[in-house]
């Protein structure tokens, strides 16, 4: 063997692994998202999602393309946005709640969908069971059956002498009926009446709160909802103006002026959704990925609201509180 040939061989041998690895990165995976509860102005949740993806090695523009649409609570725009997301030909899609999940499922029937904030996925027809979703959708539940009853119990502990409570709801949301039934059942156990007030658009909110205030409700439950999410600060202000304490199952309503929330920490769900995305991109089938329930259930109490409303919170309640806004 000639010396030159030998050198060439050695050079080839050393260069080979690099050549081999260079071939895989041709096409970046496309991660799409459709977020109803996120607006351009408040991208924290999507940012958390992106951060979590980056932690798993999916860096926008480098190792993955992460694109999506924020519906900012606009339910009517969902189908259009879903089509836009589908046109991006994503490999996997993040959608938050049941409505965008369904819209997305309609727009891109073959693309796996990870739901970040699924209310009651079985009831909403998104999955067959928690352990074996069986379809194209999996994700993280934000909601378990007794959660609202517990929230009601905690609220009753904070506010004494309650005869009736209110529910600010958006009938267009998927979980509105379920929520109302659950809440009515829980209230009935305490011998309390439930008044529901509908608000389909932001314009309806003030009227609805006024309606609840006049119905004699000691406090009201704000349904987690894209429209209300966008309008939560106005809701908080309106409630305070009416001396009407508000509660929610989503902690991010609390800083807006509600009294308390008891539920999952939304941002945790978005972060956790990245793990699902990762698994699916690595070949896992959504049908086999069990729906998770978040580990943490957080009791958040807004002491400012309590103070403004003249509510004295019991020691046991404060004892339970995970986050206290002062």
């Amino acid at each position: 063997m000639r010396r030159r040939d030998l050198m060439a061989l050695i050079a080839c041998a050393t260069a080979w692994p690099r050549l081999a690895s260079a071939q895989t990165a041709n096409k970046l995976p496309v991660i799409g998202y459709l977020a109803l509860n996120v607006s351009e102005q408040e991208p924290e949740l999507i940012d958390a999602f992106r951060d979590a993806l980056a932690g798993l090695g999916y860096v926008e523009g480098k190792t993955a393309t992460i694109v999506g649409r924020h519906a900012a609570g606009n339910l009517r725009a969902l189908n259009l946005l879903a089509k836009q997301v589908a046109a991006l030909r994503p490999d996997v899609i993040l959608a938050d709640t049941a409505t965008p999940i369904k819209a997305m499922r309609a727009a891109a029937p073959d693309v796996p969908i990870v739901g970040a904030l699924m209310g009651n996925p079985i009831a909403q027809g998104l999955v067959a069971s928690f352990a074996h979703p069986g379809g194209n959708v999996t994700g993280i539940a934000a909601d378990v059956e007794e959660l609202r009853a517990k929230l009601l119990e905690l609220a009753l502990e904070a506010i004494a002498g309650v005869k009736a409570i209110g529910l600010l709801r958006n009938p267009e949301g998927d979980n509105a009926a379920t929520l109302e039934r659950e809440l009515r059942d829980a209230a009935a156990k305490h011998g309390i009446a439930l008044h529901a007030a509908d608000a389909r658009t932001p314009d309806d909110i003030a009227g609805a709160i006024e309606q609840l205030s006049q119905s004699g409700a000691a406090f009201f439950y704000v349904q987690a909802n894209g429209v209300f999410n966008s309008e939560r600060y106005r809701i908080g202000q309106l409630a305070l103006a009416r001396h009407l304490p508000g509660i929610s199952d989503q902690n991010r309503y609390v800083p807006a002026g509600l009294l308390m929330s008891y539920g999952v920490k939304t941002v945790d769900n978005y972060r956790r959704a990245a793990v699902f995305i990762d698994k699916i991109l690595k070949g896992a089938k959504p049908a086999d990925l069990p729906v998770e329930f978040p580990t943490r259930v957080v009791l958040t109490i807004n002491l400012k609201t309590a103070k403004a409303l003249g509510i004295t919170l019991s020691q046991s309640l404060l004892l339970r509180a995970d986050e206290v806004i002062e």
């Binding site: 010396r3 928690f130 007794e146 009853a149 086999d288 990925l289 069990p290 729906v291 259930v297 004892l319």
Partner: protein, 801 residues
Amino acid sequence: MRDGATIDTPPLAQAAKKRGGLFRKYIVLFVAVVCVALLSNGLLEIYFSYQELTASLIRLQREQADAAAAKLAQFIDEIQNQLGWTTQLPWSPGSVEQRRFDALRLLRQVPAITELALLDASGHEQLHVSRLAMDVIGSNLDLSKQPAFTEAIAHKVYYGPVYFRRESEPYMTLALAGTRRENGVAIAEVNLKLIWDVVSQIKVGEHGDAYVVDGHGRLIAHPDISLVLRNTDMSKLAQVNAALHAADDPQIEPVQVGDDIQGRKVLTAYALVAPLGWFVFVELPVAEANAPIYGSIARSSILLLAALALACLAGLFLARRMVGPIRALQLGAARFGGGDLKQRIAVKTGDELELLSDQFNDMGARLEESYADLERKVDSRTRELAQSVEELRALGEVSQAVNSTLDLTALLATIVAKAAQLSGTEAGAIYVYDEDRGEFRLRATHGMSKALIDAIASEHIDLQDTTIGLAALHRAPIQLPDLNDAPRTAIQEAILNAGFRALLVVPLLRPEHIVGALVIRRRAPGNFTKATIDLLETFASQSVLAIQNARLFSEIEEKGHQLEIASQHKSQFLANMSHELRTPLNAILGYTELMLDEIYGAVPERMHGVLDRIQSNGRHLLGLINDVLDLSKIEAGQVTLSIADYSLEDVLQGVFVALESLARDKEIALQLDVPVALPKARGDERRMKQVLLNLVGNAIKFTERGSILVAAEKQGEFFAILVRDTGPGIAVEEREKIFEEFHQADNSATKGKSGTGLGLAIAKRIVELHGGRIWVESELGQGSTFFVSIPVNADVKLEHA
């Protein structure tokens, strides 16, 4: 003798072929050695490092598992401890609120506890707080038959089986009895998913993980929570199975390499979470664990390749270093073999090869010396041979001169010149001994000045008191290496004055006689070699021969001259005698004729007979005298043919007529056979008739009975004549002699036949004068045939002759 082919076939081509073999062998051997060494080293290293790596990884994993197990145990302990606070006090009706605070605090401090039930000593639930469900106070639910209560009462603590809420979330019931029985029992529902925090913190490599299974092999905690939520049964895994049964059967060895739930090969280690009977497994994919090994293998491979290349290069280098010198040696040897002995093999390896090459060089040097020696010898021999050849040539020339020239002076000069030249001397001389006068006379010289020659010639050199004389007397060569040392004579003084220092005298000898001496002189003093002396002796004998030849020749010449004169005298005498004898004989015959013719009176019958006899004998005597005269004339060259045209037939008829009566007298048939048209001959008719008369006469004379045939014919330009008789024949030894003078065939048949014996001699000469030939064919007792062949035209023949 060496085979020529070995030299002729290009040794380089052969060498290259063979060199290739050795070269390849070296490289292959070298590479093989290096590769085997490296390969075995690499394999051993890989094997051992694999063992060590596996062992250390397993150890590390076990430590991690132990740590995790400790953490889990601590987690449970913590819960247990926290739970202990709720059973510090015995139950009393007023303590419920306090206990509720404690319970809420507990929930806040221990997130894993989802629900907490506090039972009084009788097993009735007095308080139930929950994260999701409604808090219940004083339900007084009888749980005294529940295992959580009974077991806790019995063993202070109770760990319930792991169960799943909503079929997916692992939970466990943990019950703790108070230190005193009246303190009751706290039953906590513990969310085991929180163990995930612990498990997920265990990082083993890139893809390694840790998980926890309960005493039945069900997965409790796993970084991939979906596996836990799926309620996975891990007991089918070999390592889990082994761990589950290890408690019952200590014989079971922990599995170190097994498949994980995804089917990957993993290094696995576990630790028991003692109070719970759970197992923490820490697993690392073998592929990853072995990555360093693979790296090591890759490095080893590259190293091997590099070593291979290096070995190739080193082999190449070494082989070149080894084969190069060997090849140089081989080429050198081949060139030595080819005869190039001047070359030296340059191998400077400082080892045995250099020694070998030195020895080759030594050998070459020796061979060169031998060759040089041999060449010197050959040169010397060649020179000697050339000298010999020159000597031989000189001797040959001398011999040729001796044989070809009778000029003795010139011959001796040649001899002395050659002698001086071949002996490497400057001068020489040949003396001839005059026996009569007893002195040596200078006959030939070479390289001598006129003065020296005169000086020597003027001296009398006899046998006594001279070097030459001494040599001649002793019949042996004498040399004077230096004339300065020899006694001075006049001659030697002269020679010395002429510048010569050494001289060599070789006597020229004949048996019993001294012929002369050959002397050579040299300017340089010193002895003459044996070879020179031998050479000069040869020249001396040649000189003797030359001198002898010259002497004999001069003697013969003198004798011949004398003989010629004597012969002339004889012929003259004979001619004169014949003439003088014929004159009186003619007178006698004339007078006898006159007497018979009775001119001088009547002659009586008796006297008539005597006169007849006188006349007959006189005529015979006259014939004899005529014959002698003829012969002597012929001998003396005085006979010339009178050439004219004649008829051979007439001549033959004349002979026939003349002799027919004689034949008839002897009753012999004489036949003549001549062709009719025989052409005219040209020659001496009378002489030819004389020849034929002689031949036919002889035939009649020697033939007693029978017949005689005379025949003639023309054959070409010759006439062939034969005379055949039926006489006694002639013996072989006589046939030539009969044509000599005074000779008759001597046998009984010729006895008493008269004749001079000159007839045939005369006939032969006459025929030969005509340019013809005469010869005889005969057998004793068978008769004789004489043949004569003469030219038809003798003129032509004579002109040609």
